[in-house]
């Protein structure tokens, strides 16, 4: 592996640097993905038995099914809604922390405060919405008591709304952190110069802050999109089983031992995600932005 141009020692150091990552990624990511890929081409006897071989029938079945389209539409709907809300909230929280809190110590303190909800598990944070949003939950009780409504609002829980609320609550931090990070690098003098040159607050936002936070927005988007598209538990619990996602559908396939179709769906989802992520990376050159 050593080329004659690079000094051996530097080369060795480079390999040592990546080896922990390789040691984790190869057995725990690459190998399982390859197994799933292989399984997606196998045939099954319907009782969990796999017949090694090469068939495209699993893919044909998945791609020909109207169900696949419906599942992707449902998943994309949740992804887009979650993305919009986490982006808006995340962006403005980061903006406030960077540009409005003058005291840096306070800014860091407030930033840490944003992470407090993440000291408990995802599942607990999600489930704790249920007593709040339910038919006899706090919100409905309060609204009934004030006379604003006469029937409890059913749309609050076991609905798409509930799913999006839970996702936004869980994932906004993934927007705040990278956007905060890229905003913090913006030179304050730039803003002052813009003000001196007569730019409005909106112009500053449009022409300076947003373009210079692009890398943070892109990173946050990658986190949010890949987590929502790869999740099924939030959909299952918060929709009260009333909705499904791509992953929940192939989890059910695994439940009845239909491994090859589940594997084909998983490979398809991976490809879709890779496409989405590369699209994001094409729009924003994260590497360049970070080393800026």
């Amino acid at each position: 592996m050593q080329s004659s141009q690079t000094p051996p020692r530097a080369n060795l150091a480079g390999w040592l640097c990546v080896s922990p990552l390789v040691a984790v990624l190869v057995p725990f990511f690459v190998a399982p993905i390859l197994v799933v890929l292989a399984a997606s081409f196998f045939a099954t006897d319907g009782f969990g038995g796999l017949t090694p071989g090469f068939t495209l029938s699993n893919y044909i079945e998945v791609l020909h099914s109207a169900l696949t389209l419906k599942l992707y539409l449902a998943t994309i709907k949740f992804t887009v809604l979650t993305w919009i809300f986490t982006l808006i909230i995340g962006f403005f929280v980061a903006y406030f922390l960077v540009f409005h809190v003058r005291n840096q110590l306070l800014a860091i303190g407030l930033f840490l405060l944003c992470t407090v909800p993440f000291w408990t598990s995802n599942i607990i944070r999600m489930i704790s919405w249920i007593p709040l949003l339910g038919k006899e939950g706090l919100i409905n009780q309060a609204l009934l008591a004030t006379g604003a409504i006469h029937q409890p609002l059913e749309v609050l829980l076991f609905s798409d709304l509930a799913v999006v609320i839970a996702y936004v609550h869980q994932l906004t931090i993934f927007m705040i952190v990278p956007i905060f990070n890229s905003m913090a690098r913006i030179d304050k003098k730039l803003i002052e110069a813009a003000i001196d040159a007569g730019a409005s607050r909106f112009d500053i936002m449009r022409l300076i802050v947003v373009p210079m936070s692009k890398s943070g927005i892109a990173l946050g988007t990658i986190f949010v999109v890949s987590i929502v598209m790869g999740d099924f538990f939030v959909v299952k619990v918060m929709s009260g089983g009333g909705s499904a996602s791509v992953v929940s559908a192939f989890y059910e396939d695994v439940g009845v031992l239909q491994y090859p179709t589940a594997a084909a769906s998983a490979v398809l989802l991976t490809l879709v995600l890779v496409a989405v992520v590369s699209l994001i990376l094409r729009t924003v050159d994260i590497r360049q932005e970070i080393t800026r």
């Binding site: 969990g48 009333g242 499904a244 559908a249 439940g255």
Partner: protein
């Protein structure tokens, strides 16, 4: 657990001794503990309360560990702890949901010693060759197991075979056979240990009339206040019971539908969902309790102990007696048993047989009875129940005194009658069993259509 179980000590001399021994050995070394365990086992054997006393010596079994893996309502830690105490080797209970469990048995059979299997899972496990046949001769209580399981009948009543009945999944011809055998043999796929008949739970105060038919679950009157079980293989059977009850369709075999029947059932479910019939669907015991207790639904397919759990919160809830009438209705039965994994051999296999024998020796039967489930050997379970408990849980009589749950918490007032009546009334009205259909893959796809609609 035993400490809270005071009401029971009169009929449980071995248990009382176990309790004393347990207290004195607390915080002592492992060696002393094992001696204590052996003493308990001896005492138990002496009192004849536990028939399956260890025949292998404590020295040889002390390093043995049995891993019993399965669903939480069947593989219960308190039962494993008691077994370990009585038998002198280590028992570890591990819980997974139904689909995760069967996936583990098939893909990592060596990480499991005793598999918790439903009838249909036993069929699958045999097919995949991950279990070994249980030698019926080595099961001391085998002849006392109710004929529901061993012969497919009870009290002159043939047990229906819609779905995969425990009897149907019970036998294989040879210890390593991969296909089920129709008829009694010397080799069992699994040893039944706990079972029940599922139906509907409802709020009597809000529903307004007695529910005895499945069709009430899909009655438009309860729009937005009904829920159904979201485990495709059995949820679809609950739906089928509803549609059959409403006279919409007559199934050839609810437990093994044709594609056309699956289409009809799922399309009808989608229609109901679009009309807003279902407030939610549920997958776990706790979810069903929460839905009912939080006022989200007033009628849903439900399990007997879940109904009891709602009632403990002082919310009225009834378990609908859906006795078979006019060839419709009936309970959906299920049964979990224990399978021996193929890799077991030597001392460990002997220990596993001890464990199976212990299970049928009564303590476990008494334990599960207190949350409404049944033992395949009621004659031994009876020894571990007070006469009041026996009268309430098995005979369907009004409770002579307050009935406690397995952990000693009062759950039923004196005078209450168990919904659905006596044991025989319930099991004779089972009309179908939990299953895995031949068209499972197609059914699953159509169920996902329902979910995403």
């Amino acid at each position: 657990m035993l400490d809270r179980d005071k009401g029971n000590s009169t009929s449980d001399p071995a248990g009382t001794e176990a309790k004393l021994t347990d207290k004195s050995t607390k915080k002592l070394s492992r060696r002393t503990l094992l001696k204590g365990a052996a003493a308990v086992a001896g005492a138990a054997a002496g009192s004849d309360a536990i028939r399956g006393f260890p025949t292998i010596w404590a020295q040889e079994i002390k390093d043995i560990e049995l891993r019993h893996v399965g669903v939480s309502y069947s593989v219960v830690k308190a039962i494993g702890d008691q077994a370990a105490k009585d038998l002198g080797f280590k028992v570890t209970m591990q819980n997974l949901d139904t689909s995760a469990a069967i996936n583990r048995f098939i893909s990592q059979p060596n990480t499991v010693d005793i598999a918790d299997l439903e009838g249909w899972q036993a069929k699958l496990a045999a097919k995949r060759g991950v279990i070994q046949g249980i030698e019926v001769k080595k099961i001391k209580e085998f002849d006392n197991i109710l004929p529901i399981f061993t012969k497919g009948e009870i009290d002159g009543h043939k047990i229906p075979r819609q779905g995969i009945s425990p009897y149907e999944a019970m036998y294989i011809a040879k210890p390593d056979a991969q296909d089920l055998h129709d008829g009694v043999t010397e080799w069992a796929t699994f040893l039944p240990q706990v079972y029940n008949a599922d139906s509907i739970g409802y709020r009597p105060d809000l529903v307004g009339h007695d529910v005895t038919e499945w069709k009430d679950l899909i009655d438009p009157k309860f729009k937005g206040k009904a829920a159904i079980l979201d485990v495709p293989a059995i949820g679809i059977m609950d739906a089928a019971l509803c549609f059959e009850s409403a006279g919409l369709i007559k199934y050839g075999n609810k437990g093994n539908m044709t594609k056309e029947e699956i289409d009809f059932t799922c399309n009808k479910l989608i229609e109901l969902k679009k009309d807003g019939q279902f407030r939610a669907t549920w997958t776990t015991f706790d979810q069903s309790v929460q839905l009912m207790a939080a006022g989200e639904v007033i009628i849903q397919s439900m399990w007997s102990p879940a109904v009891a759990a709602v009632r403990v919160k002082e919310i009225p809830c009834v378990y609908a007696p859906v006795n078979v009438k006019n060839g419709k209705e009936g309970y959906r039965g299920w049964c979990n048993g224990m399978g021996l994994m193929k890799h077991l051999s030597g001392k460990k296999l002997e220990a596993a047989y001890e464990y199976l024998n212990w299970y049928l020796s009564g303590w476990q039967g008494g334990f599960v009875a207190r949350y409404g489930y049944y033992s395949p050997v009621p004659s031994t379970a009876k020894k571990f129940l007070t006469p009041a408990e026996w009268a309430f849980w098995y005979e369907g009589q009004p409770a002579p005194e307050v009935i406690n749950d397995p952990y000693g918490v009062p759950m039923e007032k004196s005078g209450t009658k168990r919904d659905g009546g006596s044991f025989l009334d319930r099991v004779k009205n089972i009309s179908c069993w939990n299953t895995l259909m031949d068209e499972a893959a197609y059914m699953n796809k159509r169920w996902n259509d329902f979910k995403v609609a």
